[in-house]
């Protein structure tokens, strides 16, 4: 029976040779992830379960990233509880303070997620790791707690939708533009309960950062996972990050898909998703003229070093529009340091940006840039639901880093070519 990459990874972790979409399997994940929002609830459930010992402490990753540095007393207490738990169980992968970063950028950077693995995370954007050829899916705190004790998780085997990207990328177009375009075609539940399997046609190459961005937002179309088949670029990315062996899976030639979608990226320009749905993407040229109060560059979607380079190329020699608040959050300490070395932070500070610490920060209206009633923000984040970044009567537009940087300069939604006439330098491609 021919299988998809998703089916092969699930089968290998459920001790099965074959499986069929719709079937419930009990699988053993390689990595279990939770953060300062989802871990406290899981710890409570673990204790209600009579949990004393964690079956595989080395598989557990706890990251304090949502409301850190501690936003308020409640966040401080939540983080303290996770810290106590991590110490009590001698968890080797606990991240906080100067070692923490946004979980979905941090785990790949630390070599904690590898191709062919099954990853469950109590965070919806766990699907990010699909970029590495892992089956990674968001679950809840109960799932995480039960897996701590039993090492297992129940999963329904999903069908897959095959998305084949072809053509060549326009200047200033990146992973974010492709995924926003795709979600606008699929709709926010177009891939509900399904896997999005991404393939690149001959001649099209995507950087790892673009793949992470694309896999990251698979969940915004409802998908359970968003998987790329590993290739040379994946292998190069992993060099120096791990000494562990990993398995590269790929779909069989005649594997069954619910649907195949071919997308010529040559037809896609920079996109903006209008409030209040990630599926509301339009080309930048079609975006309404709105006065922006804030621009945010960062998040698990677009806080990668490549994103910061793109933003810096556009911001160089410019300043954020008067009255506009520009907030930039490098996703991890290593990305922050790299940005310092390359002079990107200097460029951002000269552009009147606030550099915030690696954190989820304003993306979910937590802190470090919450917006007021009537305010409008453009963000490189992944969700623009009503009230997501603050007041229920505020509005959020989503874009990639190039559009965000250009818009920060003008104070309205702007195509990057209006700021920089030359195409982006090769490293930003």
């Amino acid at each position: 029976m021919p299988l998809t990459i998703a089916e092969k990874i699930l089968a290998s972790h459920a001790g099965k040779k074959e499986l069929r979409p719709g079937e419930i399997v009990i699988a053993e994940p390689d990595v279990l992830l939770a953060n300062d929002v989802t871990a406290p609830l899981a710890i409570k459930i673990f204790s209600e379960l009579g949990g004393k010992k964690i079956l595989h402490p080395e598989r557990v990753v706890l990251v304090l990233d949502h409301f850190t540095p501690n936003r308020d007393l409640a966040a401080a207490e939540a983080c303290a509880e996770v810290r106590r738990f991590a110490r009590e169980h001698h968890l080797p992968h606990f991240f906080e303070s100067g070692e923490t970063g946004i979980e979905h950028a941090l785990l790949p950077e630390q070599g904690l997620v590898l191709p062919g693995q099954l990853v469950i995370g109590a965070d919806s954007h766990t699907c990010t790791y699909g970029a590495l050829g892992a089956f990674a899916s968001g679950v809840g705190s109960t799932d995480f707690a039960v897996a701590l004790k039993t090492g297992q998780v129940w999963l329904k085997v999903p069908e897959s939708i095959h998305v084949i990207f072809s053509g060549s990328l326009h200047p200033w177009v990146g992973g974010k533009d492709l995924i926003l375009h795709l979600i606008s075609r699929l709709g926010v539940e177009g891939a509900n309960y399904q896997v999005l399997e991404f393939s690149l046609a001959e001649g099209l190459s995507l950087r790892m950062s673009d793949r992470f961005t694309i896999s990251n937002m698979a969940v915004e179309a409802g998908a359970k996972a968003g998987i790329f088949t590993p290739d040379r670029i994946t292998e190069e990315y992993l060099v120096g990050k791990t000494e562990k062996n990993y398995t590269i899976y790929s779909s069989d030639r005649n594997a069954a898909y619910r649907e195949t979608l071919k997308i010529d990226v040559t037809a896609i320009g920079p996109q903006v998703a209008l409030p209040s749905s990630p599926a509301n993407a339009v080309p930048v040229e079609a975006a309404p003229e709105v006065k922006l109060d804030q621009v945010v560059i960062g998040s698990c979607t677009n806080g990668w070093i490549e994103d910061l380079r793109t933003a810096a190329q556009i911001l160089a020699g410019h300043r954020a529009a008067p009255g506009l608040r520009l907030i930039i959050l490098p996703a991890t300490p290593a990305i922050y340091r790299q940005a310092l070395r390359e002079g990107l932070i200097e460029t951002f500070l000269s552009a009147r940006a606030v550099i915030a610490p690696p954190s989820c920060g304003p993306c979910l209206g937590g802190h470090l840039g919450v917006i007021a009633a009537g305010e409008q923000a453009l963000a490189t984040t992944n969700r623009n639901f009503p009230g997501r970044m603050g007041h229920p009567d505020s509005r959020v537009y989503l874009s990639g880093p190039a559009v965000a940087a250009a818009s920060a300069i003008t104070g309205k939604i702007t195509h990057p070519r209006e700021i920089v006439s030359a195409p982006p330098a090769p490293e930003a491609k």
């Binding site: 419930i24 009990i26 300062d36 929002v37 989802t38 406290p40 609830l41 409570k44 459930i45 209600e48 379960l49 009579g50 949502h66 409301f67 936003r71 308020d72 409640a74 966040a75 207490e77 939540a78 995370g121 109590a122 965070d123 919806s124 766990t126 968001g138 679950v139 809840g140 705190s141 109960t142 799932d143 039960v146 039993t150 297992q152 998780v153 129940w154 329904k156 926010v188 539940e189 509900n192 309960y193 969940v219 409802g222 359970k224 749905s277 979910l364 209206g365 937590g366 969700r383 639901f385 009503p386 009230g387 997501r388 229920p392």
Partner: protein
Amino acid sequence: MKMKKLSGPSVRVGDHIDTDTIIPARYLSSTDSKLLAAHCLELLDAKTRDRIHAGIVLVAGSNFGCGSSREHAPLALKARGILAVVAKSFARIFFRNGINLGLPLIEIPAAIEIPDGEEIELDFAAGKIEIPATKKVFTFPPLPGFVGELLEAGGLLAYLKAGGKLE
């Protein structure tokens, strides 16, 4: 053990009710069910929000619970005393979290035909939603196999505590 019949007044909400609407992120530092219940669905329009009480059945359109994986969302609904959610469709993570917590969820395409503010009866064993006032009946297939067992047991925790196994 079969699930008991439930009945209560319906409160209709729209499509794509996301987890930020169910429980805004600023309350997520807490696992206190009283606090979560107090802020449950507070981003809804004021008129609907005032009708969210213990004992109601929430009736939604498509993609209920889309967005984050926060289990605080089904937890807040349960703590608020919401009997069940009937929706045209559920977002995946919310659905599994709801089942894991033993919050009754019914996915039925006809959800949009269920009138607002009407007493409705949910019969899980028979797979039936009845509106006594008009005698109208909608049917739905009961949750199959393991997932059905989880909901019947009152959630994954209750299932494991009762000796259920993940095998």
